[in-house]
């Protein structure tokens, strides 16, 4: 007998499994999966905007909440209008930190005019020596100040992971309330889930030594959001 059969066999025995209740159980499973019931979701509000409740994507309360929570998670935030303004905002941010104007970017962002802002970019997955990684995001989650990134040929996961500085471009229309809304968007737009869905909230951190929080454990030391308020 294989271990699979042995383990499942013992579980079945303990649950008094028989053909009838198996059929009923399978039907219950399909119903649960079809229903996708949501648990209680907290209202999304922000200190700046009193409008409570679960907001439509892109509305000001979601944006303000995303900003507040991102800052609370030690990210930094900038606001510009459109994608076209993003390269200059990146250049400003890097110059402000005395970082070289050089980055690895998502292939999905290759269409922007990075050179015009004085940036040298490589369009590929990140490597160990890359100091700055620039990504977009699939969407952003206001509730917790979280970026939701999905992997793919044009959106490699390593860009948000290996470099010490991660910059993410966040179109305002892609700000949703919670994880539920993010998953719903993924189902609607992508069909099946891509290999990696990464939720990122601020720089990597550890508190292992004497519960002292240190940023930059294995991933980025800095996460910088550039909000594109007109996108």
């Amino acid at each position: 007998m294989t271990s699979r059969d042995d383990i499942l066999g013992r579980v079945r025995a303990r649950l008094n499994r028989n053909p009838e209740n198996a059929a009923a159980g399978r039907a219950a499973i399909e119903a649960t999966l079809a229903m996708r019931a949501q648990g209680p979701c907290p209202a999304i509000d922000s200190q700046k905007s009193a409008l409570a409740g679960r907001q439509q994507a892109g509305t000001p309360p979601l944006l303000e909440r995303l900003v507040e929570k991102s800052l609370a998670y030690s990210s930094t935030v900038d606001r510009v209008g459109t994608y076209a303004e993003a390269p200059a905002a990146v250049a400003r941010y890097l110059a402000g930190l005395n970082l070289p104007l050089q980055a690895v970017i998502w292939p999905a962002l290759a269409r922007l005019d990075w050179a015009a802002a004085g940036l040298t970019v490589d369009t590929r997955g990140a490597e160990d020596h890359d100091l700055v990684g620039i990504s977009g995001c699939f969407c952003a989650i206001a509730e917790t100040g979280t970026l939701m990134l999905v992997s793919g040929p044009d959106t490699p996961a390593s860009v948000s992971l290996l470099p010490e500085t991660h910059i993410a471009l966040v179109p305002a229309s892609r700000i949703v309330a919670g994880m539920e809304e993010g998953f719903a968007l993924a189902r609607a737009e992508l069909g099946q889930l891509p290999r990696a869905v990464n939720f990122i909230s601020g720089p990597s951190r550890t508190g292992d030594i004497e519960q002292t929080i240190v940023l930059g454990a294995h991933g980025p030391y800095r996460v910088h959001l550039i909000l594109l308020v007109q996108e």
Binding site: Q38, L193, A196, S204, R205
Partner: protein, 468 residues
């Protein structure tokens, strides 16, 4: 991992006598407790969310066989291989087999309690494969001669900065430093090299999602992402009870897990990983294996201890446990400490091998009220005690004492006489200041405190006198 749970008393005494551990535990105590209390206030209806989480976990466990089949189907459809392991030895065999198949010489590991259950690091080393723990805490333990963890979330909570400083200087041959960011940077550099060169990543799994065949992985350091992005092989080792139905359920549980564990609204990284990389994708593993582990869990299904299978390994119960706060986690002797460990260790390693653990709690229920999936931990501890009595695992004198006491307590005259005698005896033992420094009948009580002396006559006597 070999259990030392049968030596709980000695282990606890050693922990009490260890000044470094005592200082570290005192420092850590408030942090987890206070941060959780603040974080749960962000949830409008925390109790309703707890209840929803409990329902999610129960829904799966009540049809566990069918949910496992479902998960196997969806995971396989996305190109993963699902393996099953009855026990720790089989986990080790599977991992070594997979490693050999893909020519693996080094494996980077994100935290996996199952790998602790299995003693996987030893097995890998014996097979010529180098295991490298990458969670900072787990790494510190590994370089300290594979010391066992003392907490499921904060494995080195018992260690002081000085100890870590010594260890790093010795292991990395670098000048000793006591700056925590500098130590963290040093570990980052050492481990980055391992991430880049390992052929295999091993992780645990916080949840398996039946709807999509995915594993959800939660870390703050980002090591979970590293081990599942860079190496060409990814092996997930989880218990069979870890399945949840949908992504919506993951969203609900993620409102509770980080808040209960570290007092964060969310962990820095939550990854939902499904299948292998596409041919045109620049990163991600080419091979994905799930090892679904029994190791005692199947027997708990359908039993009076089934509630325990809901556990999402947040650690809140130990953070709030007065016993854990006092002795740390290693004293519990196996992988899981605190109240959840006191239930799991006897269930998974045998009632007779952890005779003290079900008694190693005051039944204060500080654990039960914080558990995000509403596991009635004190009730489960009490049931384990009952099982011990049923199986005659308690010492004969203890059983006799309770029988005798119940016999006396059923006879009011005798009981009154006994109480009267005890009161006189205790009064006689007192030191003149109302305290008894040493009690022959209960020597354990007076080890660390006095016993307040009674006032002479018993209530029963005085009440009778008054009535006359």
């Amino acid at each position: 991992m070999k259990s030392r749970a049968h030596r709980f008393k000695e282990n606890a005494a050693a922990a009490l006598a260890n000044p470094v551990l005592q200082a570290s535990m005192r420092k850590a105590k408030g942090k987890f407790v206070d941060k959780r209390a603040i974080a749960i206030r962000e949830i409008d209806d925390f109790e309703a969310t707890r209840e929803a989480a409990k329902q999610i976990r129960n829904r799966v466990i009540e049809n566990l066989d069918l949910w496992l089949e479902k998960f196997e189907e969806t995971a396989t459809a996305r190109g993963a291989t699902v393996l099953w392991a009855k026990d720790g030895a089989e986990i080790c065999r599977h991992v070594v087999d997979v490693a050999k198949r893909h020519g693996v010489k080094k494996a980077v590991k994100s935290k996996s309690m199952l790998s602790e259950e299995a003693g996987l690091n030893l097995a890998l080393t014996a097979a010529g494969i180098q295991p490298v723990e990458t969670d900072l805490g787990e790494y510190i333990l590994q370089i300290n001669d594979n010391e066992p963890p003392s907490h499921i979330i904060a494995p080195v909570v018992h260690k002081s900065l000085d100890e870590v400083a010594d260890l790093f200087a010795k292991t990395h041959h670098t000048p000793r430093k006591t700056d925590i960011p500098a130590l963290t940077r040093e570990a980052r550099e050492v481990l980055r090299e391992h991430f880049l060169t390992a052929e295999m990543g091993i992780s645990g799994g916080n949840f398996l999602i039946a709807e999509t065949g995915s594993v959800a992985l939660v870390t703050n350091e980002g090591n979970g992402r590293m081990v599942t992005t860079l190496p060409k092989v990814h092996v997930v080792i989880t218990g069979i009870e870890k399945v949840i139905p949908t992504l919506e359920d993951l969203a609900t549980l993620m409102r509770l897990l980080p808040r209960s564990a570290t007092g964060q609204s969310i962990s820095n990284y939550v990854s939902v990983l499904t299948g292998v990389k596409r041919p045109d994708e620049p990163d991600g593993p080419e091979h994905l294996y799930f090892i679904l582990v029994d190791n005692g869990r199947a027997e708990v299904v359908g039993s009076e201890f089934q509630d325990m299978l809901r556990c999402i390994r947040c650690g809140a119960c130990m953070n709030h446990c007065p016993v854990y706060q006092t002795i740390g986690g290693q004293a519990y002797g196996w992988v899981y400490p605190g109240p959840m460990g006191s239930v799991l260790t006897p269930l998974y390693t045998g009632l007779e091998n952890a005779i003290d653990l079900p008694h190693a709690g005051t039944l204060c229920n500080q654990c039960g009220v914080v558990c995000p999936v509403k596991i009635p931990l004190p009730e489960l501890l009490r049931k384990l005690r009952e099982k011990q009595v049923e199986r005659h695992l308690r010492p004969w004198f203890e059983r006799l004492a309770f029988r005798l006491w119940a016999w006396v307590a059923s006879r009011p005259g005798l009981y009154g006489l006994g109480a009267r005698f005890a009161a006189r005896y205790l009064t006689w033992l007192a030191d003149g200041k109302g305290s008894i420094p040493a009690l022959g009948l209960a020597p354990e009580w007076t080890k660390g405190r006095d016993f307040p002396a009674p006032e002479g006559k018993t209530f029963r006597e005085l009440y009778a006198e008054k009535k006359q």
